[in-house]
Subunit: 362 residues, 2 copies
């Protein structure tokens, strides 16, 4: 069938050019007579794609030189464990800001590993509709880092700027908005993200870590869990997920062709505005409990007046080739995920559909 | 260019049918209008391929019902850490048999996690050319498991049958010979393998674990490192490496079409014999220090009289479309890796080349 308009929250749509290139190279990559999946991760051919991916990501995301870029496995969930294992020495602590289910997972995982402190939570009846105000955040003195999640995929909230945490390095899970906008690297000690929203298919986890934190990290860990070992080995300590790195390479090249981060950010802002404008014009029909200043530019969430109407919305959308918009089971309602790969036309299509849906069902 | 004869030690050759199917489904998988990389891991479409992969692997490998099959990330290296973290409770120990670099890594990683015991080692001057004799193995009393590596990829040795360890559950790294031959599940408590030799591309790690060990495993670990959590969540605790599982599915279906494990095992034995016969006919030319009873059926290793001649062997082979046969840097010489995907003709081609090479250079 034709390609659908795919708004899944992740794994999610990839740039068509990346898929087409992978398709054409499947039996013979770069004249090797092999797929990229069949060649040694120690070969010069793979080394090239690996290093190019890291270099291109550094360039596109304006990563300062004093940070290492690691390509790991295990998803953000493994980072929930590796971060405290590596960075919290005996007797020290870290602070966590909880604004959604994944930041809560990060906090709970860290608690299993070490003593950590809850600096803020915007949880209310198991749901999260806002980012905390500055005066709600209480960083525990002596924290070696403060953890936060830049974008809440499930409920659709996003930090618009990072909070002032008085020089404590920020550790930030950017799984669902990495490379979607410029960031101020100043306060950031470590950034991590599963690739499967903005960077490529599932299977690679990007970790950007400031060199001083690499040096301070624990030396008592198994090699595979050690930032120091992974940094020293350029993420090739063991066999990486070669194909997902190769796909990430293609996605990054697509970002570059699109004009880089600046162009991508502007496009993302326009895409989000198209949908939020429709919501704001019919707030009794498209009901959003997300605080206006906390709205995500990646995941636009709303409810309709009844579950029946939400089911009809999903079904009608499907008949127009729009898929992946059913809200997360813990949030309900509708979620339209508009990651980097989507263009304005995709948002326009959804906005038009939403307007038509009001007319027919309002 | 044409497809090469690819004898890389892993990542390594995949069945051509698996690549061709992936190619044809790249833009539209199963009529979804998406690639398998673009769909949610919570979708019914992905769930189907995930569950089918596990079920087919159980069936083809004759895995008894009282074992769980997990599809994880992080490679065998992460298992080196997860095994002792999950299974060695405070005050208990485990025994390790070291027959190569990776089993040594497993042992050293376990030592970082817990107190473990070296039950045997066949190391000699940093090299490993044999599997230990039964009377060389000393299992520490009270061991909760005994770890061994079934096939040594680097030096080319392989256990032909498992040692008698008096009822202690065996934990076996089968990364380089999983699903290449029938195994006796009786003594096995846990089997694990990176997928990238016999099962698919890199990115998936298979763990087969007896239910009683799942139940006995530690409850204090971060979820992502817990066998219990991963078993309870059917390996979908977080986003898995979806594409590599999808490819594993295709590789398993290919194994099934080839006649299953019995046919694959016979084919593997014939493939190895073809090469070892040439070696045994010219032992002064193709020099192998691997003990005859310890020879691997997956990785055939040998040296020539000089490094110059080895370089010529690799170059001449390349001119005949044979690639990936340079030995590991710690072993030197030549290594021909003949995993499941290779057919007899591939071994015949190498055997003929070897015979011609003697004539021209002997």
């Amino acid at each position: 069938m034709d390609r659908v308009l795919n708004f899944y929250p992740g794994p999610s749509e990839l740039p068509l050019s990346a898929l087409e290139e992978a398709k054409s190279e499947m039996l013979d990559w770069k004249g090797t007579g092999m797929s990229v999946m069949e060649i040694s991760h120690r070969s010069k051919e793979f080394d090239e794609v690996h290093n190019e991916t890291i270099a291109l990501f550094r360039k596109l995301f304006f990563i300062p030189e004093n940070y290492a870029v690691l390509l790991l496995q295990g998803g953000a969930s493994l980072q929930f464990a590796m971060i405290p294992m590596n960075l919290i020495a005996a007797g020290s602590t870290a602070s966590y800001i909880v604004t959604g289910r994944f930041s809560d997972n990060a906090y709970k995982t860290a608690k299993k590993v070490s003593g950590v402190h809850l600096a803020a939570s915007t949880e209310k009846d198991g749901k999260y509709f806002r980012i905390p105000k500055p005066d709600e955040i209480g960083i525990r003195e002596g924290s070696v880092y403060c953890h936060l999640t830049s974008n809440n995929t499930i409920f659709g909230t996003q930090w618009k700027s990072f909070p002032d945490v008085k020089g404590v390095p920020l550790v930030c899970d950017m799984s669902s908005d990495i490379l979607s906008r410029k960031v101020d690297w100043g306060p950031l000690g470590l950034v991590y993200a599963g690739a499967q929203k903005n960077l490529g298919p599932a299977g690679t986890t990007v970790v950007v870590i400031r060199n001083d934190l690499v040096e301070k990290s624990s030396r008592d860990l198994p090699d595979i869990l050690s930032y120091k070992v992974m940094a020293d080995k350029n993420s090739l300590y063991n066999t990486p997920g070669c194909f997902s790195i190769y796909m990430m390479n293609k996605v990054l090249k697509w970002v570059e062709r699109k004009g880089g981060l600046d162009a991508i950010q502007k496009r993302n802002e326009r895409k989000a505005k198209l949908l939020y404008d429709v919501i704001d014009e019919a707030p009794d029909f498209f009901i959003t409990r997300v605080e206006k200043e906390s709205r995500s530019f990646m995941n636009v969430t709303f409810n309709l007046v009844s579950e029946e109407l939400e089911a009809k919305f999903v079904a009608d959308a499907k008949s127009e080739n729009i898929v992946g918009i059913k809200g997360h089971r813990s949030a309900g309602g509708i979620r339209v995920s508009i990651y980097n790969s989507h263009d304005e036309k995709d948002s326009e299509t959804v906005a038009s559909f939403m307007k038509r849906f009001i007319k027919e069902n309002g």
